[in-house]
C-alpha cells in the first residue's frame, strides 16, 4: 500500500467530504490539463495518477484494505462529480474501475497480491480485451480462443476497440475455451502481460486523427493457468457481473454540459444571443441538458440509497449521448463557413473549437452499448416488448 488507508471517508458529512476533495483537485490538478478534449495518454496523465496514488486516492471505490478509499456509492458519486466539475482528465483506468474490483471479487489471493498493489502504484496499466472484429454488440460471438496445454493456455485471435492498449502493460480478456457448448457458456476470463511473446498492438487512427483505440493480436500466446480468473468457462458471468452502478457514468450530463458551454461561448463571440432563431434552438437544447441532469440525479439518488440500478438506466445513456450529438450539430451550424475548420477559429478574440465536439459525439452513441442496443434493452426489459 502506498499510503496508510485509515481515514473513514464515509463518516464525513457530504459537504465536508466534497470540500476536501474539491480543494485537493483545485490545488493539485494541473490547470493546463483541465477539460481535455480527448482521452489523455499515459505520458500526459501519469504525474497526476502518481499524485493520486501517493495521496491514497487513486482507487476511490476499492476497499481500504486493498489500498482504496473505501467510498460508499454516495461518496463515490461526490468524488466523481468533483472530478467532472474541475475537468480532471481520465487516466487509463481499466485497472481501477474494471479489473481491480473484479479481482477483489473473483480473484484468487495470489492474483490479488500480484496485481492490485501494482495498479495502485501505477506500475501496471491495464486494458480491456472484449470486442472483436466480428463480436461487437454481439460480444458472445467472440472467436479468440484459449486452448489448455499443460499448465498454460495458448491464446490465438484478435481483439479490437481496445482503449489505449498502446499505453498498457497488461490486458484482461475473454476467450473461448469450449466450442462445444452454447456461445455464452464456453468463455473464460484471462489475464495477459503484454511482454508475453506473440502479442502485437496496433493503434487505430480515428477520423479525428487520434489513436484512442487499438487492435491487439494474439498469436500462440502462452499464459499460465494461474492467469484464469474465476472458473473455467465462467468468463461470461464474471464480465457481466462487473456492470455495476458505474453504468450511471455513461449517462453523465458532463459531456453535454461541456458542449453547451462551448455553444454558449461561441454564440457570445458571434453575437447570436440577439437572434431569436438561435435563441429558440439554444434554449431547447439548454433544457434538454438541464432535464438530462434531473434524470441523472434520479439515478444517482437511487445509487445513493444503495439500490441496484435496473435496465432503465439505459435511457440515461441514450438521452445523454443524443443530446450531446445535437449540441455538436448546433455548434457546427452556428460556425457557418468555419464549420469544417480543423482546429480552433478565433472570433472577436475568442477561440472556438468547432469539430472536437462533432467528432466526440460520434463514438458517444456507439461505444458502451450503442443507442440502438440501449433501446433494445429498454424495449425488452423495461417496456416488456418481446422480439
Amino acid at each position: 500500500m502506498s499510503t496508510n488507508q485509515t481515514t473513514d471517508w464515509n463518516a464525513l458529512d457530504t459537504d465536508t467530504f466534497r470540500q476536501t476533495v474539491r480543494a485537493f483537485f483545485e490545488q493539485n490538478y494541473p490547470a493546463e490539463m483541465r477539460y481535455p478534449k480527448t482521452r489523455l495518454r499515459w505520458a500526459e496523465i501519469k504525474d497526476w495518477y502518481m499524485t493520486l496514488s501517493k495521496k491514497g486516492w487513486v482507487a476511490p471505490s476499492w476497499p481500504q484494505v486493498h489500498g482504496g478509499m473505501g467510498l460508499s456509492p454516495e461518496k463515490l458519486i461526490v468524488f466523481i462529480e468533483e472530478q467532472e466539475r474541475w475537468g480532471v482528465g481520465r487516466a487509463p483506468d481499466m485497472g481501477i474501475t474494471m479489473i481491480g474490483p473484479l479481482l477483489i471479487q473473483y480473484g484468487s489471493e495470489e492474483q490479488q497480491q500480484k496485481y492490485l498493489p501494482k495498479i495502485i502504484q501505477g506500475e501496471n496499466i491495464w486494458c480491456q480485451g472484449y470486442s472483436e472484429p466480428n463480436a461487437g454488440s454481439d460480444l458472445a460471438s467472440l472467436r479468440t480462443d484459449a486452448v489448455e496445454d499443460g499448465d498454460d493456455f495458448i491464446i490465438n485471435g484478435q481483439k479490437t476497440w481496445t482503449t489505449l492498449a498502446q499505453d498498457a502493460t497488461h490486458i484482461f480478456l475473454l476467450a473461448r475455451t469450449d466450442k462445444t457448448v452454447k456461445k455464452q457458456e464456453g468463455i473464460s476470463f484471462l489475464l495477459a502481460d503484454f511482454t508475453t511473446p506473440g502479442i502485437t498492438v496496433r493503434p487505430i487512427r480515428n477520423i479525428a486523427g487520434h489513436e484512442e483505440f487499438c487492435e491487439v493480436f494474439f498469436e500462440n500466446v502462452r499464459v499460465p493457468k494461474a492467469n484464469l480468473v474465476g472458473g473455467l468457462n465462467q468468463g461470461w458471468g464474471i464480465a457481466k457481473a462487473l456492470l455495476g452502478f458505474e453504468r450511471i457514468f455513461l449517462g453523465s450530463p458532463k459531456q453535454s454540459q461541456y458542449a453547451l458551454s462551448r455553444v454558449e461561448e461561441a454564440a457570445h463571440a458571434l453575437g447570436l444571443f440577439g437572434d431569436q432563431g438561435f435563441v429558440d434552438r439554444y434554449t431547447q437544447l439548454q433544457l434538454d441538458v438541464a432535464d438530462l441532469s434531473a434524470l441523472y440525479v434520479r439515478f444517482v439518488e437511487q445509487v445513493k440509497r444503495g439500490e441496484k440500478l435496473g435496465p432503465d438506466v439505459s435511457m440515461l445513456k441514450v438521452w445523454a449521448a443524443e443530446t450531446f450529438s445535437r449540441l455538436a450539430n448546433l455548434l457546427v451550424e452556428i460556425t457557418g463557413g468555419s464549420g469544417a475548420v480543423a482546429g480552433d477559429i478565433e472570433v472577436n478574440g475568442k477561440k472556438i473549437d468547432v469539430l472536437t465536439s462533432f467528432y466526440n459525439a460520434r463514438p458517444a452513441t456507439i461505444y458502451g452499448g450503442s443507442s440502438e442496443i440501449q433501446r433494445n434493452i429498454l424495449a425488452a426489459s423495461v417496456l416488456q416488448l418481446r422480439s
Binding site: 439554444y282 438541464a290 432535464d291 434520479r298 433501446r375 424495449a379 417496456l383 416488448l385 418481446r386
Partner: protein
C-alpha cells in the same frame, strides 16, 4: 432539496393519499363520466365537485387560517394526478391551484377569508382572467389591454381576457388589470354588471372563456393586491399552476404510453405482436424517455414549490422548464400513441382519444412549450 420531502412520514402520507385518490377517481369518475360530460353546458359536474369537497380536496392547498387543510403541493399532486388519470373534466388546477393560490398569495384578508372559505366548502369555483393574447409565441404576465381606471363614479374595469378556465359555470374571476403603470388584482363575480362570458369549445369537450369586462364598476374591497405585491402573488400562482398542469400532463402521458404498450403487446399483425417489430419498439422507447424526463424534472419542481422560500427567478425558471417538457412530451405521446395504434387510435369510441384531446388542451393552456421556453430564456438572461 427540502428535507421535508424526504421525511418518511410525509412520504407515507402522500403515498396513502395517492392511493385513496386513485381509488376514488376510478370509482367515482369512470371514463364514461368524462365521456358523457363532453360538450355539456358547463363541461363538468358540480355534483362531482361537491364530492371533491367532501374528500377535503377543494381545501387541500388552502391554509388552516382560511379553513383549509394546509397541505403541500406534493399532496395536491397526488389528487390532481389521480383525477387526470381518469380525464375528469373538473377545473381542479384552474380553480383550486391557480385562482386559489393567487387569492391566498395576496394580502386582502377579508376577501381571502370570504373567498377561500367558500372554495374549501366547494361552493365557489373561481377562475383567473389574465391572458390577453389570443395566440402567438409568448406569454406576457403583465396586463395591458385590461385596465382598471378611476372615473367619477369609482374604478372601472374594461377590456377582454382570453383562455379563462373554467370556460362556463365559473363563479367569479381573479382579474389582472393595469392600473396606472401597476399590475392590480381584482375579484370580480361572474354575475357582476358588465361581465360578459363567451364560452369557447375546446378539443376535449370542456370549454374556456373569453371574458369581456365592459366598464365593470369595482369597489376597493374587491382589490386583492396592487403593484409589486400583485405581480409577485400572481406570478407565484402562475408558476404553481404551471407545475400542477404538468402533473396532469404526466398522468396523461403515462396512460397513453400504457395503452400503447398494451396494444403493441397484444395486437397481432403478420403473425406476431406488433410490439415485436424493432422500429416500433424504438419509438416506444423514445416515448418512455420523454415521460421519464418529465417525471424527473417534475419531482424537482414539486420539491421546489413545497420548499416555499426558493429564489423567485429559480422558481419561475423551473416552472416554465417543466411545463415546456411536459407539454412537448404530452403532444408527442398523443401523436405517437395514435400512430402506433393505427386506425383504431383515431376513433372516438376508443378511449385513447380522451387523453389525446386533454393533452392538446393542457399543453396549450397557460402557454405552450415554445412560450415556456421563451419565458425560461428571458429568466435565464435575467439571472446570468
Amino acid at each position: 432539496m427540502n428535507s421535508d420531502y424526504l421525511d418518511t412520514e410525509r412520504q407515507d402520507n402522500m403515498r396513502m393519499l395517492a392511493e385513496s385518490a386513485q381509488t376514488f377517481a376510478i370509482k367515482v369518475s369512470p371514463l364514461t363520466r368524462a365521456r358523457g360530460l363532453r360538450g355539456s353546458a358547463s363541461g363538468f359536474d358540480r355534483g362531482f365537485w361537491g364530492k371533491l369537497a367532501e374528500q377535503g380536496w377543494t381545501g387541500l392547498l388552502i391554509s388552516e387560517v382560511f379553513s383549509g387543510y394546509g397541505q403541500g403541493f406534493g399532496e395536491m399532486a397526488a389528487v390532481v394526478s389521480a383525477l387526470a388519470t381518469q380525464v375528469a373534466p373538473e377545473p381542479v388546477v384552474p380553480a383550486l391551484v391557480f385562482a386559489s393560490r393567487v387569492i391566498e398569495n395576496t394580502g386582502n384578508a377579508d376577501l381571502q377569508q370570504q373567498l377561500l372559505a367558500s372554495i374549501v366548502a366547494g361552493e365557489l369555483i373561481p377562475g383567473v382572467a389574465w391572458q390577453e393574447e389570443l395566440a402567438g409565441l409568448q406569454v406576457n404576465l403583465m396586463a395591458n389591454a385590461v385596465v382598471a381606471a378611476p372615473t367619477n363614479s369609482g374604478i372601472q374595469l374594461t377590456g377582454e381576457k382570453h383562455h379563462v378556465r373554467p370556460g362556463a359555470d365559473c363563479d367569479g374571476f381573479v382579474v389582472t388589470a393595469k392600473q396606472g403603470n401597476d399590475l392590480s388584482l381584482w375579484w370580480v363575480p361572474a354575475n357582476a354588471a358588465g361581465v360578459k362570458v363567451k364560452s369557447v369549445a375546446l378539443a376535449d369537450g370542456t370549454s374556456e372563456a373569453s371574458v369581456h369586462f365592459n366598464g365593470v364598476m369595482l369597489d376597493e374591497s374587491q382589490r386583492l393586491a396592487q403593484g409589486e405585491a400583485a405581480m409577485a402573488a400572481f406570478t407565484r400562482a402562475y408558476d404553481e399552476a404551471l407545475v400542477m398542469t404538468s402533473v396532469e400532463l404526466l398522468a396523461l402521458q403515462k396512460v397513453m404510453l400504457n395503452m400503447t404498450l398494451e396494444y403493441l403487446r397484444t395486437r397481432v399483425q403478420f403473425g406476431k405482436p406488433i410490439g415485436s417489430f424493432q422500429a416500433l419498439q424504438h419509438r416506444a422507447v423514445d416515448l418512455l424517455i420523454q415521460q421519464e424526463l418529465t417525471s424527473s424534472v417534475l419531482s424537482q419542481a414539486l420539491v421546489m414549490l413545497d420548499d416555499g422560500d426558493s429564489n423567485v427567478l429559480e422558481r419561475s425558471a423551473m416552472a416554465s422548464r417543466i411545463k415546456a417538457r411536459a407539454s412537448d412530451a404530452g403532444l408527442l405521446l398523443a401523436r405517437e400513441s395514435i400512430q402506433l395504434h393505427g386506425a383504431i387510435g383515431f376513433t372516438d369510441e376508443y378511449d385513447l382519444g380522451l387523453y389525446v384531446q386533454r393533452a392538446l388542451v393542457l399543453s396549450a393552456w397557460l402557454g405552450n412549450a415554445l412560450a415556456q421556453r421563451r419565458r425560461y430564456a428571458q429568466i435565464a438572461n435575467l439571472s446570468i
